[in-house]
Symmetry: C2
Subunit: 334 residues, 2 copies
């Protein structure tokens, strides 16, 4: 799966900005890839990009229409279909972040086949994968892990990749979830693969590389999440991480989606992740902590990060407030 | 998925006994369900059951033709097709343990639909599953875990169920792999579900039950297996085990399929499984050890089991040599 850019961002009839969260993430991390946006009637989201028709986008060189928006009820209605068919007719690929698979809508599948364009359903994975083999491979890899889901693992990984590129370090962000895949232009939604192949999927998307190249692997879930820990475990083994970065949101009262389940502490999270990571890479270390301090004021955030850094003797940053330079410093020592 | 018995065991043209391993396991644990066997030319396996044609099996009340045999090259050839179509025509369901899905062979799918019979592809799972919710449910559950794959987890679980039934304890074996599914008549191949739903699949197959009922859950893989640990992790969380039994094969030089990966020791296996099990059931304990001592002589086996029992102060048995009574004694204390 290789999604070609530039992109035209389809916002449909998004009821609010939140529905366009994926699209916002793509524009934030790959602004040069996003040529314009296409909004239908009643769309309440705005990426601040030029509004374009399909024809205008084609003219501007757009290769892919990106559905980076949650829709009402998970159904692709007639009002959307018209635009999607127009895009196919104009020769564009469509990359879709919805649960609904475009490839199972006969009208779209037939039109795409006739026109020779691709429909990418990035939340799904139907390809063939190998079982993980655990064999040591060249190149370096860092994985973002977390105390919980949605604590900033993707943001942290992208910030590390950006900082590495700024320093001239060879690096590639490796996407394991839908927003990440749009941002990378490729990847596999690891939570969508058959469970026998979780670590094999990660070995596939973060393969052997130059000895001085870093793969920055997007994490998923948490080893302490009762719903998704299996995914996190396979990711840890498959990424064969030389280093992990522990991500956390300090104000959360319970694990996401699991009232009654409290979050693990940072020490436990670090130790248990390290233990399992060392199965496939005995030299794995912790490169630091990435804390999402959005809910704290400056003083509280600064104090919390200083306390964590002192407790563990490791860098602790909020990637949004501070960037990730101290973590990349640490990675450069490896 | 509910596979009706009695079964006719299809051995096809199995080149040797090993190819019929699944069928042998079914006959061992559910002899009353196995009415006969059907062998084609050049079949070198023999379950010691009466040889039957499809017509004879139908006459004997057989409901399902069971493909519990590995075939040559994973392809269902014309010589098999004839028998399968005959079974469908006689109104039998077919339950298939091969990787190849019967339901994707148009000739079989059409014949089955026309006749109103079911094709069960037990290595696959296409149904809808919930994400695991981790909510405490009633009833008791014991899970077989292991240092590695193929160390006797299914056998141990079935032996525990049998011993419990002998004692009049309410219990149900819960199958998570293909042979187990034939033996239980239902279940889900957990390694075949989408990875987001591993723990949800286990919550589904081992649901809330009477407070004094035991679900004996078949384990898969190992938390220390670089290919499959994600599956084992989800199983542990989803089963919400009150007790685990640690299974081991003491002469294995490396993890199955992974040369260069040594087996974890029993203490580590026990502790790490307990730690993760306690996420969804804080009261989980170890009920004992089940050692596959097939490769040892009597004296060596007896000494090894005595040593392990003394080291941990817990029952240690070889289910084949000794049965699992001491483990069930321990479970009755819970």
């Amino acid at each position: 799966m290789k999604i070609e850019h530039p992109y035209l961002m389809f916002l449909g009839d998004a009821p609010d900005e939140l529905a366009a969260k994926t699209a916002i993430g793509i524009k934030q991390w790959r602004p040069d890839w996003c040529k314009g946006q296409l909004r239908l009637e009643n769309c309440n989201a705005d990426l601040g990009l030029p509004d374009m028709t399909i024809a205008q986008a084609r003219e501007a060189g757009v290769k892919t229409l990106v559905l980076g928006v949650a829709n009402r009820g998970g159904i692709i209605g007639p009002v959307w279909m018209e635009t999607l068919l127009e895009a196919i007719d104009a020769g564009m690929d469509i990359a879709n972040g919805l649960h609904t698979k475009l490839s199972t809508i006969p009208e779209l599948a037939e039109a795409a086949a006739a026109k020779g364009v691709s429909l990418f359903d990035v939340r799904h994975f139907d390809g063939k994968l190998p079982v993980g083999n655990g064999e040591k491979r060249s190149g370096k890899r860092v994985l973002a892990v977390g105390t919980d889901c949605s604590v900033g693992k993707m943001y942290t990984a992208l910030a590390i990749e950006a900082e590495m590129k700024k320093r001239g370090i060879k690096s590639t962000f490796r996407a394991t979830g839908q927003t990440g895949i749009f941002i990378a232009g490729e990847g596999i939604s690891v939570d969508a693969v058959i469970s026998d192949f979780i670590s094999g999927a990660v070995e596939t998307i973060a393969p052997a590389n130059d000895a001085d190249h870093w793969d920055v692997v997007e994490g998923q879930g948490s080893l302490f999440h009762a719903s998704y820990a299996g995914v996190s475990m396979g990711l840890l083994h498959g990424s064969q991480a030389d280093a992990i970065v522990v991500c956390h949101e300090p104000t959360r009262s319970h694990m996401r989606g699991l009232p009654g389940y409290s979050l693990p502490d940072l020490k436990t999270t670090m130790e248990v992740n390290l233990m399992h990571a060392r199965l496939t890479n005995p030299d794995c270390v912790v490169a630091g902590f990435a804390i999402n301090t959005k809910a704290l004021d400056d003083a509280a955030a600064t104090k919390l990060m200083a306390d964590i850094s002192a407790e563990f003797g490791l860098p602790c940053v909020d990637p949004v407030r501070n960037g990730v330079a101290p973590i990349v410093d640490k990675l450069q020592e490896i």
